[in-house]
Amino acid sequence: MADEYKPPALPSPFTNTTPAPTLLVQGAEAHLYKTVSLDPSIPAALKVRPSKPYRHPILDRRLTRQRIIQEARCLVKLVREGVSVPAVLAMDWEGQGGESAWGGAWLMMEWIEGPVVRVVLEQWEAWMKKNAASLDQSQIQKEEDRLRGLMKRIGHTLGGLHKAGVVHGDLTTSNLMLRSPAQETTDSPTGVSMEGEVVLIDFGLAGQSTQDEDRAVDLYVLERAIGSTHPRSEPFFEEVLNGYRASHKGTGSTLKKLEDVRLRGRKRSMIG
């Protein structure tokens, strides 16, 4: 049976920082830690891409190195363009920081305080499922409007991303965060705040592209991620597109392309 899970050892110098980095999530590709940068009072996010033992070592090194450099380049560019993403503080792409054969890489970024959109939607959907029967029409309308507002802001942020010439490549609701505002103001009975600036995270599969095809695929991936993870929120995806449309000029051709991508997506049932 499965052994008790132990996260891989941290690369140097994080083996002797105080306080020790705490593991937040084990993502698919990387481990995310909370640590501090330079001063114990400055929190930072540390993304460690450990080597993947299932992969051939040459392939693994190639992918790990390529992706972490790509990610850092995109983040640096986006910060410069004023898109809300975490800023890069430090990195090591060769895995030289570790003991002899450590083959991973790491990237230290600005700490974003707040929930991921996946959790926000899950909590909201759960609450609505439980309480929808006892709400009157105006309350339901109010809640749905709140969700529409959030979707629209997501669309707006994506517009900024694409305008800057970057595509995300892995847009799911786990890769969207809400930066907590200084003062929480939730008057919703659900207790689920949808306030705060939308921040894009995890640029592990991002790339520089201004092609409508790539942008449309970005939107399509998000649409499908919402459809498969948050069935109740799916009808509101249209608002993401509305926000996107209003974000900058020239989104028309991307949205048109999205229709092609959708059709192609539907036809993707293979023969044989």
């Binding site: 084990q26 993947k52 051939h56 786990s174 049932s269 023969i271």
Partner: protein, 367 residues
């Protein structure tokens, strides 16, 4: 209750009989018979020829399966058939046979989605309750997870299926299609050592193989490794080698046929494991179930096992009896639908080449 399952969406014709005991004890496989249409090296199976094969064998297989299961026609409750997805002509020849049996024996028909058949059989055999499913075969490549009575597709191929990529490269190298090309690529890959740089295309939870196939076909041509002659030459070399391990000097950096197979496997399986891991992280599941013909590949199972172990989870895989297309998976999924009152009226007993996994309403699960 007893169900007959008939499958023929590709080059495998399968007839299987499943028993679901009335007392609720675990379902039993009473018969699982398969006959495969094998095309010569360098060629794929054409729909026309495959359909002819299915038509010629289907009566024989049904008779044989009834005999092996020791059940009479009266004991059978329903006839399950593959509605799709798959190749049109082979699907049609099996659906005609199913319809005929239904009229002849006066038994209800149950149309089954091929992909759901794979998932349900995998769940039954491995006991995985709610896994992330990697469905990989010659025609399909999907990462699937269950949510509110649908098997939802999280990631899939953007162009050709992984099995199709392997099959077609086997054709390029003139590797035998018997028992199936992927198996022979796997055996050849075991001798490969050098990793050749190939395109690695993962987009979110989706993958793409067509560019990779074009690249490796190009490499094979560039190094003169494609076609029948190179295959024969390689075979002769193998034959002349005696018992002792021969180390081939790699001075000129020229890859061998084995190196190409090795690199192809390492690259495509790394892509598949990666998207599966991403889906697992996304839905928070620790179980992986591999189904479909490519799922019988031991290297893929090994890589998936390492990934799952590192995530504190486990991998569930089946052997070729269950993961390569077969009749019992159709019987199993059909029976589960039948028990909820689902049947396919004769009028609607058609087949379709396009039938997405998430179109099926999974009435038999309520978790």
């Amino acid at each position: 209750m007893i169900a007959i399952g008939m499958e023929g969406s590709a080059n495998k014709l399968g007839v299987g009989i499943m028993l679901h005991p009335e007392d609720g004890s675990p379902p039993q496989v009473l018969a699982n018979i398969r006959h495969t249409y094998v095309s010569p090296p360098g060629e794929g199976f054409l729909p026309k020829d495959t359909a002819r094969h299915h038509r010629a064998w289907v009566v024989n297989l049904v008779k044989k399966s009834l005999k092996e299961a020791r059940v009479s026609v009266e004991d059978v409750d329903c006839i399950c058939f593959t509605k799709g997805p798959g190749m049109g002509a082979p699907l049609q020849s099996v659906v005609v046979a199913a319809r005929m049996l239904s009229l002849l024996w006066n038994k209800p028909l149950v149309g089954v989605n091929h992909c759901v058949g794979h998932i349900e059989m995998g769940r039954l055999i491995t006991g995985a309750t709610n896994p992330v499913v990697l469905y990989v075969s010659g025609g399909n490549t999907q990462v699937i997870a269950y949510s509110s009575q649908r098997y939802r597709i999280f990631g899939e191929t953007l162009d050709i299926a992984v099995g199709n990529c392997l099959d077609r490269f086997a054709r390029t190298l003139h590797i035998s299609n018997d028992p199936f090309p992927g198996y022979n690529i796997e055996q050849l890959a075991k001798q490969g050592k050098q990793l050749v740089d190939l395109p690695y295309v993962v987009k979110g939870m989706d993958v793409s193989f067509s560019g990779l196939l074009a690249a490796i076909d190009g490499l094979a041509a560039q190094w003169g490794l494609d076609g029948e002659e190179a295959a024969k030459e390689d075979e002769n070399k193998q034959g002349s080698q005696t018992g002792e391990e021969q180390i081939v000097p790699e001075t000129d950096g020229k890859p061998t046929r084995a190196d190409l197979c090795f690199s192809l496997q390492e690259t495509v399986y790394a892509m598949l494991v990666e998207i599966t891991e991403r889906a697992m992280a996304h839905v928070g599941s620790k179980q992986v179930l591999i189904v479909g013909g490519v799922g019988s590949n031991e290297r893929l199972q090994e890589m998936m096992g390492i990934m799952a172990r590192d995530r504190g989870g486990s991998v569930y895989a089946t052997d070729e009896r269950f993961c390569i297309d077969n009749g019992i998976m159709i019987a199993q999924a059909g029976m589960m639908a039948y028990k909820t009152g689902f049947t396919t009226p004769l009028k609607e007993s058609t087949c379709t080449q396009r039938f997405r996994t998430d179109e099926v309403f999974v009435k038999w699960r309520d978790d």
